[in-house]
Every structure is written in C-alpha cells, then in structure tokens.
Assembly symmetry: C2
Homo-oligomer: 386 residues x 2
C-alpha cells in the first residue's frame, strides 16, 4: 500500500494545543474527500458500490468521484469488481476496497491475558494470538509480552507486509492523546507509564493507545452498529464506550465513559471508589448474590439514564458477566429501557448483545489505526450540510 495520510504532507500539520482551529487547504480537502470515498467503499463491503452511488452519497459530482477512485485504484486501495445489472444503459461498474492493501495490529491488554489480532483494511481478522499476561509483573514485562505477540503476528501475515501501526486497548484511565497511563487500579507502578512511546520505540511502529471500552465501541461504530450508541461492558468492573453522531466521544482527557461509578442509589451502599450507591457496586452485588434479574434491572435503569441524557439509538451489552448469562441481561435491560423510552415518548431504542464477543476489544484496537484512513477517528472533517 502506498502513502496514506493527508496528500503530500504540506499544510495543516498541527502542533498540540497551539490553538489551530482547523483551516483547510487543498491537500487537506483532497485527503478528506478521498477518506470519505474510502469509508463508503469500506462500509459497502463485498457488495461494492458504484461511482454514481458514491457521487450521490458524497454530494460530489460523478467526475470528481471518477478522479478520486482513479487515484485510489492507482494506489492499490480500490479495485473494480464486476458490474451491476443494466437499467437501460451502460451498467454501473462496481468498486470494492482491496482488503490486502493495508493491515493493522490490535492489541488487547487485560489484567490476566493478552489478545492480539492482525486485521486487513476491511477490519477482518487475518491472524490472532493469545497469551497469559500479568499486570503485576510490571510495565517492562508487559511491554515485552506485547512486543512478542506483535512480532509473532506480523510473521503470520502476508510476506513483506508492513502494518501502518499498532492499536492498544487496556482498562483504566489513561491519556489517549499522549498515550500515557494514569492509574491502573491495583497496580500503582503503572501510574504515568508512557505506554505508547515505550511500545513504539520497541517495535519501530506507530502506536495508538485507548481505553478498552473506547476501542470496542470504535470497532462497533465502524462495523455499522448505529449512529449513536453506548457499549456497556460488564466484567470485573462496569464501563462504557460512547459513540455520538458517528464518532467516538472520549472527552478532553479520555475520561468519558466512566459509567460504573454513576450514583444510582443516593446514600446507598458504599462502593470501592469511596462513593455510595454506584451502579457498579449495586450491579455486581446482585450478581454475587445470584440475582441476575436484579442486576439487569439495575443496569437497565442506569442505561435508561444514559439513553435519556444523550438521546442515543442503541445500547450494546458486552463483557464476561453479560455473556455468561445468555440473553438474560439483554432482555432485562431492554425491558427497563423500553419502559422508560415509552414514557418519554421517544423513538425505540434497541438493546442487543455486543457483536464480536471476547475479541471485540482487540478488533476495535486495530481500528484505532485504521479509522483515521477513513476519516473516522479524530474526524478530520465533520459532516457537511443541514
């Protein structure tokens, strides 16, 4: 695959916090429109999409789309793939993303295990590695293990393939912009560890770091889950990833999605966080007591709060505790949310199990690298019109 990124690299490189507000020059414009087309090709999947459909969807003229797709084909990112049936004239030529044109590695670091995946440009998993992990052994040991997994994975990929980067997802508060960990509960040694730079130096590849729930939500967003949704993860803790209007909401300090310590029962039982009546405490207490229906009701009420506050379309449930209980959580949460939406008179909100299963976080981590190519991550431009 050839050069990604903003055209020839002129213009609009931006330092952090220098107050640049986003002036757009021609190379940036070209990059944006190309990313847009690439994203439409991606979401069209194997079915493909024709030049004229691209023109309709983007609002550009067919001729502009022809130029853009010609460049993408020259770069090897897109290819023609058959034709549609004629509707009385020349049949439309179908274009498709070339999956092998690019790859990325997604790394999911959890307290006790590591999952690494190699995905192609469409996000499909090409190879996978799992290994035990121990946060307790300290940062160096974990970086070692991660680097080893990535190297192994790259060996499994196509010959000569150079992935554009490695996306890493892990629990706990961290700084996505700088790639620095803030606190990993129970492992104070990790505090302030510059994971991104450490891993990037070790691998010689660009690295992006994000919270596990954010990565999972990003992956689901790119898989077309919904325009706006929340991914709720119930495992050893309770967290959330928020996608609002098509893009991941991290907040200024990557702190968004702190869902578990929402106070749901004012002056309720104490939580490990020091507050009282947090959803996480209530929900996990119910799970521990074997009352899964109550756990689902608690989670559903908190989800209802979130749905009402943000006006989202969908709630996706994941995490070991959820998957272990079959559809009990989905139905329980769904019932509470539906009741609330009914009272509020809003449109229906679907509650569903999160797609991707246990691998969702690692796949989402890979999308930390791929998403920018499709104009989806720091959203080089927003949506026009309206």
């Amino acid at each position: 695959m050839t050069s990604y990124g903003n055209g020839n690299g002129r213009g609009n490189e931006r330092g952090k916090g220098d107050g640049n507000v986003g002036g757009v020059n021609l190379p940036a414009l070209r990059g944006h429109n190309a990313a847009l087309v690439l994203d439409l090709l991606r979401s069209a999947g194997e079915a493909g999409i024709s030049r004229l459909e691209l023109a309709e969807r983007t609002g550009l003229t067919p001729q502009a789309v022809s130029k853009i797709t010609a460049r993408l084909r020259a770069e090897g990112l897109a290819a023609e793939a058959g034709r549609r049936a004629s509707t009385g004239g020349k049949p439309r030529t179908v274009l498709r993303l070339v999956p092998e044109a690019g790859h990325a590695v997604g790394l999911h670091l959890d307290r006790d295990a590591l999952t690494a995946v190699l995905v192609d440009l469409t996000g499909a998993v090409v190879a996978e590695r799992r290994a035990p992990l121990a946060f307790a052994e300290g940062a160096d040991a974990v970086v070692d293990a991660a680097a080893g997994a990535v190297r192994g994975l790259l060996g499994a990929g196509p010959r000569g393939m150079v992935p554009p980067g490695v996306g890493v997802a892990l629990p706990g508060p961290l700084d996505h912009a700088r790639g620095v960990l803030r606190r990993v509960t129970g492992f104070p040694a990790w505090d302030g560890f510059p994971l991104r730079d450490a891993l990037a130096a070790r691998l010689g590849l660009p690295v992006a770091v994000d919270k596990d729930t954010n990565a999972a939500a990003l992956g689901m967003a790119l898989a077309g889950a919904a325009e706006s949704f929340a991914y709720l993860h119930l495992g050893t803790g309770l967290g959330a990833g928020l996608v609002l209007g098509g893009s991941l909401h991290r907040g200024a300090r990557t702190g968004a999605g702190e869902f578990g310590h929402q106070v749901l029962r004012l002056d309720g039982p104490p939580c490990a966080c020091g507050d009282r009546g947090c959803v996480e405490a209530l929900c996990l207490a119910a799970v521990a007591a074997g009352d899964l229906a109550e756990a689902a009701r608690v989670l559903g009420t908190a989800a209802g709060n979130l749905v009402g506050l943000l006006d989202i379309d969908r709630v996706l449930l994941g995490g070991r505790t959820v998957f272990a209980a079959g559809d009990l959580f989905v139905r329980g949460v769904g019932a509470v949310v539906a009741e609330r939406v009914r009272r509020g008179g809003g449109a229906e909100v679907s509650v569903a199990p999160a797609p991707g299963g246990e691998r969702a976080v690692a796949e989402g981590a890979a999308q930390l690298i791929l998403a920018p190519l499709f104009g989806r991550a720091p959203q080089p431009f927003g949506t026009l019109g309206d």
Copy 2:
C-alpha cells in the same frame, strides 16, 4: 450585509436524510475557511485580531488569510480597526467584526412569558421586548404574540435592516430538524404543531426552533464558556444543555439533555413522569421542604454523574430556583463535584452560575441563526489535525 452561506451556492446543497456524508468542494471549502476566520474575529471581540494571528490560529498561510479577510471586508463583515504596537517592524493591522453587518432575533417562549431580543453579529443585545404569554390559549395565539413581538423588535432596529432569521427556544421535547413540537407538558393541543413553518410563514423569515436549554447552552458556548460543559437549568423543572467538544449535542431527535428524569435514587419516591427516584423529584422536593443544601447535594450528585460520564470541563447552573438561592447551589454542587473529581483523579471541573441571567435563553435562541455563519451550529466542518 451581503450574501451569507456557502459561497455561490453551488455544490453540496443537501437534502435531509439522503445519505449525503459530506463531500467537500471548493465553494464549501471557501465557505468553511471564511466562517472559521469570522468565528475568530467574533471571539476576539472588540480587541480585534491581526491577519497573522488569524493565520497562526487557522493554520492557513498569511496570504490566504489576507485574501479571505479582503473578501470579508468587501462584504462589510469585517473592518480594520487600528494597529498594534510595533515589535521592530511594520505594526500589525487589527481586524474587527462589524457588529452592524448582521442581526438576528431570538425568541424565548415560556409557559407564562415571552422574551424577544434583537442581537447584532457579535451577539450583543440591541433591543428587547417582554410580554406575558399563555400556552393554554393555544398555538395560534402564541404564534400571534410571537409574531407581534418580532415585528415590534424589528421596528426598533436600524433602518432597513433585514435580519437573516428568527431563533425560537421553548421548553419540552421537540424536533429541531423539522421544527415540530412533540409534547408540551400540560398542553396536549400543542402536540405535533409545526411551529417553525407556522412562524416562518407568518413572518416571511427563516425560523429555527430548539429546546430552551439547548439554546442557552449554545449561547454560552459561543460566548466562550468552555470546550465541553453542561448547562443545568433548575426552574419549574430540571433540564440540561450539553456542549461537547465545542458543539451542541442534541442527539438524533433533539432529545439529549433529558437530565431531570435521571434516576438517582433507585426505587425512591415516585416522580410525575411515572418513574421513581428522579433527580428532578428529589431536588424539587428538597426545595419545597426548604432544604436547599440537600437540593444542592442531590443536584451535585447528578452533575457528578454527568461529569464522569462525559468528561466535561465545566458545569453552569441557571434557572429561577438557582438564581433565587444566591451562591448556595453553586457552592453545594461545586463541593460534591469536586469531591468526586478528586476521587477519580481527573482535572478540576469548575462549577459556576450561568452567565446571561434570565435573558440567556433568548440570546441563545438568536445564536441558532448566527452560529451557522461562524461554522458553529451544525459544524459544517469539524476540527482538523491531531
């Protein structure tokens, strides 16, 4: 004032829901950069800003800024206003927004009163009207009153001034995109009333409609309140307006900001909405009981939930109940939020009274019209870089 909007009007007009994802052509690019410069001029206020500062802030070259500002000056939107002190060479020429180059009307319809303001391009109030109102008298009567207020206001403005539009803010769920009311609590006759089109037809002016809390939050965002903040309004009810990453978050159905019916005490006392333990019920009950400290604690806990979930920088408190209690709410909410942020290890979150007082909603409503000129409302483009 001359033509606003996207350059010559070619390209990228976008129907609703046609799936247009935001392709950008040259006129749109020009419009975006012009809006960006205009926004910087606006936020610079009377102090003004030089061409080179504009270039630094936008990331464009000085020459591009010169061209853009030349066009803005030719259109009468900007003007030179003195020079800065020299730093060893030619002193910078200061540019300023011309306030009289454009106006907008903001209309705040409340259950019992109407507030209308005429603002200039900087958002400063030029004229104001207040009148009693009765939602109970039905839609036609309210439209009559609103149209009368707007006409009166336009008479008070500069001679020959034609405002580009009227922004209307009112309580209750509604559809911002279509300008249709959904439910006005206690006034079923309003259900489904197409307020935007009715008022636009009556006035012969474009009209935009939004929730009162959204309008207020938009106004504060443009006034530079913060990148991300929540405006909490405690009056006869409890609502919120959310600004995330510089732009107003409405949700797909203008339903975001449903803050009052967040469940804060699971299985708590029943609320009028049919649920139990809603913040609004708890908070207003405490107010009714004269226990304002408890009301502030309840509100603070709910605000803390919101701060944690969205990772916002600031909480602004407004509404009659808040203003009536002096700084009691600000301090009470501030204490709870600060404690929570301290535990979470996040950056400090400021809690402050909302600026603008009782007129904030009407001023924000006017910004529904002005904000698009500065690229701030449906954010024609997002932020580049990073």
